[in-house]
């Protein structure tokens, strides 16, 4: 098994964090992982993305030419990646701010109004965590517990209240998807 995912959005939307926590969770679950951020000139102009590979075998290339999953938090990301998604792959899109829909056929599209949901929870900055709730539910790679533990490690001893609101956000996204 080899699953490659791309997380993409504006700098500041927390896309690198999403990928990092996801990779960390997969590692603690015992998978092989690689995490590759876009760097240098690629991240100028305010966009950011990272690629995470998760496998039960050695990972050759950390690059995803045909990602199984793409998480697009903004419209430019949708344009950039919709045609790269593997056939039968899944596109997660932040329907709160992306108004267009993919023209690409033969992929699954999961729309999560994660911006609005985060607002409702009380902090627009946790919209990426809402998205990750949905992402983890759909991919089924590991449990919410593992994700929350990894988030705690990655955030390095943030305040309890911060962890709590992220937990609420994660579960909101997780429960949003009925599968």
């Amino acid at each position: 098994m080899m699953i490659k995912s791309i997380f993409s959005g504006f700098g500041g939307q927390g896309v690198l964090m999403m990928g990092y926590v996801f990779a960390h969770g997969a590692m603690s679950k015992g998978y092989q992982v690689t995490y590759l951020p876009a760097y240098g000139a690629e991240v100028r102009g305010g966009t950011a993305n990272c690629t995470v590979a998760v496998a039960d075998e050695e990972i050759a290339s950390p690059i995803a030419s045909e990602p199984d999953y793409v998480v697009a938090l903004n419209t430019p990301s949708l344009y950039t990646f919709q045609n790269r998604i593997a056939a039968e792959g899944t596109l997660f899109l932040n329907s709160s701010i992306i108004n267009i829909r993919p023209t690409r056929q033969g992929i699954n599209v999961v729309e999560i109004p994660c911006g609005e949901m985060a607002e409702k929870i009380g902090n627009p900055r946790v919209s990426n965590t809402v998205m990750m709730g949905a992402f983890i539910k759909k991919t089924g790679l590991f449990s919410p517990d593992i994700y929350m533990k990894s988030l705690e490690v990655v955030m390095g001893g943030k305040k309890k209240s911060v962890m709590e609101i992220n937990r609420v956000a994660f579960m909101a996204g997780y429960d949003f998807l009925n599968i």
Binding site: Y20, M27, T34, Y35, Y39, G40, A60, S61, I63
Partner: protein
């Protein structure tokens, strides 16, 4: 037991260096290795006796490393291709003066300013000495974050053992990528006090120099260095074999390219083609004998590099007349996909069948 952590390649190198006892780092910012100086700025200065300097140039950095090394510290500098060109003056000097030190090159596309994408265009520079004069440097080529950690520690040991500069040659992808790592416990340092310059105290004064004006003496110094290089060639080669046991065709690749090759080989598992990998871990000394041993039972070798063909020359030196050698290269900062390389291998095999 040491814990498994998820860490970016550049930071892995810096952390491994600190754990190995590196107490002096100087460097100048250049993408894609900036996380090394940043990590050192943050962490090396916190350690007793640890010095981090953001130098005014790569030239200054390597000469600071020379001073620190002479004064007895485990010392390191890092850069990417254009900056490594500037360091060559100092690397040559370290070889001449027999001073240990570690130089990290996270290669990017070149020549010139090139770009900041992963590339393997500095193989010649690294393995042929790089600077002026008759010398060599040990060159280690990691392919995983784990190897970044292990080989960085090993680089310091080798630098001390053979008293000279050791190059860590990786690329932007290895530097930027995060992978799980377990830091092993480093070996204690084994470096003789006599080599350290501390001031003469009450005793005889010491000189460290590469200037040897008498050509006969210089020749003797060259031969002395050469004896050291011969010893290194005989004893320090490292390589990895992957699915090579019953292979009909062997891919020769190092670093990132070797990862891609492994991916391609896996894709071809069910194709009926028997493909294996020979991955040099030391680029100098090049594992020539080990490669030639393979040629006793395999006659088809495909060299794959993210360059226009540099390691290819070492493969030819090892195999010319023993086997058929072909080449696939993607220079300029392109990291090809395993699928692409798998196609290349299939096409290569098709043509070979036509030959027969």
């Amino acid at each position: 037991m040491n814990k498994k952590v998820l860490m970016q390649g550049n930071k892995v190198i810096a952390e491994a260096a600190i754990r190995a006892g590196c107490r002096f780092y100087a460097g100048y910012p250049i993408t894609p290795q900036n996380e090394i100086p940043e990590y050192m700025a943050e962490n090396l200065r916190k350690i007793e006796g640890g010095t981090f300097i953001q130098s005014e140039s790569e030239i200054a950095a390597i000469h600071m490393v020379i001073g620190a090394s002479a004064a007895g510290a485990r010392a390191m500098t890092s850069s990417s291709s254009p900056g490594i060109s500037l360091k060559q003056e100092g690397i040559s000097s370290m070889a001449a003066c027999e001073l240990p030190g570690v130089i990290v090159n996270m290669m990017r596309g070149g020549p010139g300013l090139g770009n900041i994408r992963p590339s393997q265009g500095d193989y010649f520079q690294a393995t042929r000495g790089g600077g002026h004069g008759d010398y060599r440097t040990i060159v280690l080529a990691p392919a995983t974050a784990q190897e970044l950690a292990d080989l960085t520690m090993e680089a310091f040991d080798l630098a001390d053992k053979y008293r000279g500069p050791v190059i860590m040659l990786a690329d932007g992808m290895m530097g930027q990528m995060m992978e799980p790592v377990v830091f092993r416990t480093p070996r204690p340092r084994n470096y003789h006090d006599d080599f350290i310059m501390k001031g003469a105290e009450e005793g005889k004064s010491k000189i460290i120099r590469g200037l040897i004006l008498d050509p006969l003496d210089m020749e003797e110094h060259n031969w002395k260095l050469d004896r050291k290089y011969k010893l290194i060639s005989q004893t320090e080669t490292r390589h990895e074999l992957y699915k090579a046991d019953d292979a009909d065709i062997i891919i020769v690749a190092y670093g990132t390219a070797a990862r891609i090759a492994k991916g391609a080989i896996k894709r071809l598992q069910d194709s009926g083609l028997k493909v294996g990998l020979f991955r040099p871990i030391t680029l100098w000394p090049f594992p020539e004998r080990e490669l030639r041993e393979l040629a006793e039972r395999v006659e088809d070798f495909l060299v794959f590099e993210m360059s226009t063909g540099q390691m290819l020359e070492d493969v030819r030196l090892a195999l010319q007349g023993y086997a058929k050698i072909s080449f696939h290269g993607r220079p300029g900062g392109i990291v090809p996909t395993p699928a692409e390389l798998a196609n290349v291998i299939v096409r290569h095999c098709d043509e070979r069948c036509k030959d027969i």
